[in-house]
């Protein structure tokens, strides 16, 4: 039997809402798939859009950016910038033919442990459907 493809999703979470939301999911012992690996940043506004490209290059099958809901940003407006930047990035990736299921963004507040679980499940499911990312992965350089 073919082994089930386990996608590898790199996620960038803002410290104040989404990371806290993911922590809450933990304290509430909500169970979800282990395929999402989190990089903590202070604000979703910190996430350099080129990180997405880089993550795909470096072997991620999917990328997730998560921040506070609009209006709730700990830094007032960081998530508004993020929203604009990643709105563009989403379009760009889609346009060059990268499966749109690979790139996701979410708003998860500190109280939304369950939503975090749902986001993870959805993102992992989508990445599974999309399959291993090979389009412009930095391949193990063959000479």
């Amino acid at each position: 039997m073919k082994e089930q493809f386990e996608p590898n999703v790199v996620a960038f979470l803002c410290n104040w809402c989404s990371y806290a939301g993911a922590d809450l999911a933990g304290t509430s012992r909500v169970q979800y798939q282990p395929n999402v690996n989190i990089i903590r940043v202070m604000c979703s506004g910190r996430v350099n859009p080129l990180f997405v490209i880089n993550a795909l290059q470096q072997g991620a099958d999917g990328v997730l950016i998560s921040g506070c809901h609009p209006g709730d940003c700990h830094y007032i407006e960081g998530n508004f910038y993020a929203r604009r930047r990643f709105g563009l990035m989403k379009e760009l990736l889609d346009y060059v033919g990268v499966d749109p299921r690979r790139f996701n963004m979410s708003w998860v507040s500190a109280s939304e442990g369950n939503k975090w679980k749902d986001v993870v499940e959805e993102v992992v499911e989508k990445a599974k459907e999309a399959g291993p990312f090979e389009q412009f992965r930095r391949n193990k350089i063959n000479w």
Binding site: N54, R83, R84, E91, Y95, V96, G97, V123, Q135, R138
Partner: protein
């Protein structure tokens, strides 16, 4: 139609001013249909200036290109103004450079050249192959007249114009200190048909299209160097620490490079098409940039390079920006 004599006299007058370093315009190139940027420092050099359908180069790049060489102690930097000839599209580059503080409005003198569209060199060279002797050209009622050694050739504009010109919305400079000649009538309407065409294809096709395009890139970075908006002091493409893009030429790095550059130009690219024009590998770069221009225009109602007072696109937001893609 630009009156060449007027152009020359304005240019002479301009470069005679004490506070002007030089004037950047165009002159006939060394052969065929080629045209070269022309730096006029002395009045007599103005004689060579031209403005014609051959003047494709966007000279705004030269406002930000000169290296700032170390000055010995006590030597003052040359703060004289630079005069610049601009077509409609070029003027948008100037505006955007002002928005991004790459230049200051009072450091430049902008000589606006209402433009009826410039040629696509490839199309013209295909039509008149192996043309060694220099050729001049002019606009005339929707046609371009080429003055070839063997006689004049009139060709309908649509057949030889650069693609960007076919949909040009700003043939008249949006910013200028003085205008050469009368404004021309606007003909273009930007519907981003080329982008839509590609959008309509399925993802696999889109990827094959870009994969092939990106793979053929030789990473000469000409597209970046010519771009009037790409003038970072230390471009991430050149950076080693951290390394964003490896130097090696392969599908991965090339794609990352193109996506990164396209992204950096989102909301800044003024669609002059220079990147695509210069690319020796013939990569349809504007198709990439224009996708983001389309998104920026349609989803965010922003058009760069129009209003010198506007805020940089990626450094601003509207509370109502789209977010239907967010989970």
């Amino acid at each position: 139609m630009v009156d060449l004599e007027k152009l020359k006299s304005i240019a002479k007058e301009t470069v005679s001013r004490d506070d002007v370093k030089y004037l950047i315009g165009w002159r006939q190139g060394t052969y065929g249909f080629r045209v070269s940027p022309h730096f006029v420092e002395k009045p007599e050099e103005a004689e060579e200036l031209i403005f014609s359908p051959l003047c494709t180069n966007n000279l705004a790049s030269y406002l930000v290109l000169p290296e700032k060489l170390p000055l010995p102690r006590g030597v003052e930097p040359d703060s004289r103004k630079v005069a610049l000839m601009v077509k409609g599209c070029d003027s948008r580059a100037v505006v955007q450079q002002i928005v991004e503080q790459g230049i200051k409005r009072d450091e430049i003198i902008v000589i606006g050249c209402p433009c009826e569209g410039v040629i696509d060199l490839e199309k013209v060279e295909e039509r008149f192959p192996n043309q060694l002797e220099s050729v001049t050209a002019q606009w005339s009622n929707g046609k371009i007249i080429f003055h070839l050694p063997e006689g004049n050739e009139e060709i309908p504009k649509e057949e030889v114009l650069a693609t960007k010109c076919l949909t040009c919305r700003y043939p008249n400079p949006v910013l200028s200190d003085l205008m050469l000649g009368d404004e021309v009538e606007t003909w273009g309407d930007e519907k981003y048909e080329d982008v839509k065409e590609l959008e309509a294809k399925d993802p696999q096709e889109r990827w094959s299209f870009w994969e092939e395009a990106f793979s053929s890139c030789v990473r000469c970075y000409s597209c970046r160097n010519v771009c009037p908006m790409c003038y970072c002091e230390d471009c991430i493409l050149d950076r080693l620490n951290p390394t964003w893009i490896n130097r090696s030429n392969n599908a991965s790095e090339n794609t990352a490079f193109h996506l990164a550059r396209a992204f950096h130009l989102a909301g800044r690219c003024i669609e002059c098409g220079e990147c695509e024009r210069v690319c020796p590998a013939g990569i349809p770069l504007t198709k990439l940039n224009r996708k983001l221009s389309k998104v920026v225009q349609e989803n965010y109602e922003y058009i760069p390079g129009i209003d010198p007072e506007s805020k940089p696109f990626q450094s601003s937001y509207r509370p109502e920006d789209q977010e239907d893609f967010i989970l």
